[in-house]
């Protein structure tokens, strides 16, 4: 087996350029070949692409928040779905999806969004069940679980008794629900697990899925991020004063603006299909882009606040560039984590500055969370999907809703409008609780 030679990579005396590893087939290149979206800015790639280009946001005055005791007023819910009942048979969703009751009963809203996004993704990638239900295809997912259903189940348990809880309540509510459901219902046979690094979770999923394919363990990986994006998943962040108190949906999420006051919650589901170079060639499909490498590093600083100097994120970016063997000057666009919190955006600005200033390069940097709000475990996969669209269609999404740029970010190249420009190399950053940071490198394919 050639793969046993992979250990040579670690040996200093052996020349191991990235290209030589690929040419000797010691490592495989990895491509994104399919996307599926249920998001606040669209429920298919066409709508999402248009809203990214035109910088149309999905934020609205959210009816469940309109109570005097709730200071937060806006959110970015998904459209076309109604999932606010504890009884999944009350839910409504777009006509094109048909989900049997026996499947739905084990799902929270997040798993339903992911399920629909998965159907889109396999269709988009032109996969048949024989392609995905085999030992060489795995699935990594991330979600924060369904606090909505978990809360109801606990309430029922305490008031009506232990044995009156729904038999599948646990499966539908806990953090692994998205991987449980998708792996079972799509008959996935390869690697599967969930990631729980909060807002970095699905970026971790992409990174480790890249490893699975690059190292030859899997030929194809689905990466899924999904969140409920409802009252119970969003409002707990109000207690830590992380949410925007803005009442105007047009101003609520404005990363890098001097007046930003917190993030806007969102939910939905995104599925990415990652495939090896060999599979792309065998199936004759045209990828969106290449996943060229990734890196991660931790702040080792605070359980909930990013390091003020952005040290963890800086290391993550450096490692990602090194893994992809890309010089900082080659990066054209950075999709920032940029959640629109006062501390987080500055810390990310410092990390980016530290990596790119020495070479004098100024990649465009924008946060699409200005449009979608912050999707927590959904964010990394969703924004990787956005970057894939931007690379395929040749545009760089602007950073919306900025009226007055924060002076602390003024030296960065933050486009206010979408640019009709083809990027070659794109970086996608994600940071989560505990100071976990992930940076993913994507490259245009011709």
């Amino acid at each position: 087996m050639r793969r046993s030679c992979f250990c040579c990579r670690l040996h200093p005396s052996v020349s191991t350029s990235r290209e030589s590893l690929f040419s000797q087939r010691i490592m495989s290149k990895v491509f994104i070949t399919g996307l599926g979206f249920i998001t606040s800015i669209g429920n298919d790639t066409a709508a999402v692409t248009q809203n990214l280009r035109e910088l149309r946001h999905g934020i609205e005055v959210y009816p469940p928040f309109q109570k005097p005791e709730i200071p937060v007023k806006v959110a970015a819910p998904v459209k076309g779905f109604q999932t606010d009942s504890y009884d999944c048979e009350d839910w409504t969703y777009p006509e094109r999806y048909r989900v049997k009751r026996e499947i739905l009963r084990g799902m929270g809203p997040n798993a339903l969004y992911a399920f629909c996004a998965m159907l889109q993704a396999v269709e988009d990638a032109k996969l048949t069940e024989a392609d995905w239900s085999n030992d060489d295809t795995g699935l990594y997912a991330a979600s924060g679980g369904s606090p909505f259903l978990l809360g109801n189940m606990m309430q029922r348990m305490h008031s009506q008794g232990v044995m009156r809880c729904s038999p599948l309540g646990i499966v539908a509510a806990i953090a692994g629900t998205v991987n449980f459901n998708l792996v079972a219902h799509f008959k996935i046979k390869g690697a599967s697990t969930g990631f729980s690094s909060a807002c970095a979770s699905s970026a971790h999923g992409v990174g480790f899925a890249y490893d699975e394919i690059a190292l030859g363990r899997q030929k194809r990986m689905f990466v899924v991020g999904a969140e409920d994006g409802n009252m119970d998943s969003i409002l707990p962040f109000a207690g830590m004063r992380a949410l925007s108190l803005q009442t105007d949906p047009n101003k609520a999420s404005r990363p890098f603006d001097v007046a930003r006051d917190g993030f806007v919650g969102t939910g939905g589901g995104t599925v990415l299909v990652l495939e090896s170079e060999e599979e792309v060639a065998r199936r004759g499909v045209k990828p969106y882009c290449e996943v060229a490498g990734w890196g991660q590093a931790s702040d080792g600083y605070n359980v909930a606040i990013s390091h003020p100097e952005g040290t963890g994120l800086r290391s993550a970016i450096q490692r990602a560039l090194k893994s992809a063997q890309v010089e900082p000057s080659a990066v054209d666009y950075i999709n920032a984590h940029g959640t629109s919190t006062p501390i987080g955006d500055i810390s990310e600005a410092k990390a980016v500055r530290a990596v790119f200033s020495p070479s004098g390069s100024k990649p465009a940097i924008s946060s699409t969370k200005a449009l979608t709000g912050h999707g927590l475990s959904l964010a990394g996969a969703m924004e990787t999907g956005f970057c894939a669209l931007a690379l395929r269609d040749g545009f760089i999404p602007g950073s919306a809703n900025i009226t007055t740029i924060d002076p602390a970010c003024a030296d960065l190249n933050i486009p206010l409008k979408t640019e009709a420009r083809q990027a070659e190399v794109v970086l996608n950053n994600s940071s989560g609780f505990g100071g976990a940071n992930v940076s993913l490198v994507l490259r245009r394919t011709r």
């Binding site: 048979e89 049997k100 009751r101 026996e102 009963r105 348990m157 305490h158 008031s159 009506q160 008794g161 232990v162 044995m163 009156r164 729904s166 038999p167 599948l168």
Partner: protein
Amino acid sequence: MADAALNQGGSATQSNNPSKAFTVEDESALREALKRCSSAAVEAALQFRKTHDATHVPVVVIGVIERFVEPGLRPKLHAADDDLRMVEDLGIDSLTMMEIVILVEDVLQMQINNEELRNLRTVGDVKTFIDCKVRGLPPPKPTRHLPIEQIASVMPIQPPFLFLNEAAVNNQGAQGKYRISGQEFFLQGHFKDNPVMPASIMIEAIGQLAVLALLEGVIPVDEGKVVDPKTIFFTSCEGVRCHRICRPGDVLTLSVKPKRAKMPLATFEGSIRVGQEKAVIAEEITLTYGFMDAIVAPAVVAQTTAPIQAEEPKASAPVSAAAGA
């Protein structure tokens, strides 16, 4: 365990006390709980809760089962066939069974524990079980399904002379199946170039099912006794008629029901069908039997030193002829 947890967590909301009035709030909660059930089920549930008249229970139970069955399979339920199997015919898995139980508990204000559920295979089992619960009667002995391994371990008759592949036993009697494989030794000579299951062997098969029914407790036994497999023998049969020639590939569906039993004689009526076709009728098959002391399985004590003898004495019983065909 399950009961203990339930009693701790759930007793506060239980209202088995019939003196408690059925309030408007109760009615709206009941209608909400049954909102996806037929109006007949809702009405029956309302009547039951107001009057505690158990005759309303079957309609409620069927209504709740129907609500959890895929729409395409629901017409089957309207055929009112109590032999419909929950899993095989209605596609109800164990988790859906739980959902049915939780809703029935909620609507009829009763508690059902896990062990009671295990043997409810058919719609009839479920209806009977819940009816008994509601009336405060002990639930019937559940139907026990015996695969071939278990049949062979219990029976004094052994292959190649055992003509049962599977069996189900309950209070009313026993059902069994036997597929004529074509490899049976006697088919070589019965008849020349024309294999036909001998009628005498078909009577034998009915007799064997009756032996199984005896051993599995279909007839009453004295306290502390069980039927001794070594004492069972054929004595007589009456009113035997054969209606159909049975050949290799046919699946015989056998059935016996006890008619009367008084030591040492037990009389059964029996039949064999192939699909819907009558094959054999035996108005009476009588077996002789005797008792032996039941060996009470010792209560499991932690770290017992002596190895426990096989607690199933029937398993090691020597082969003995049962039905002399």
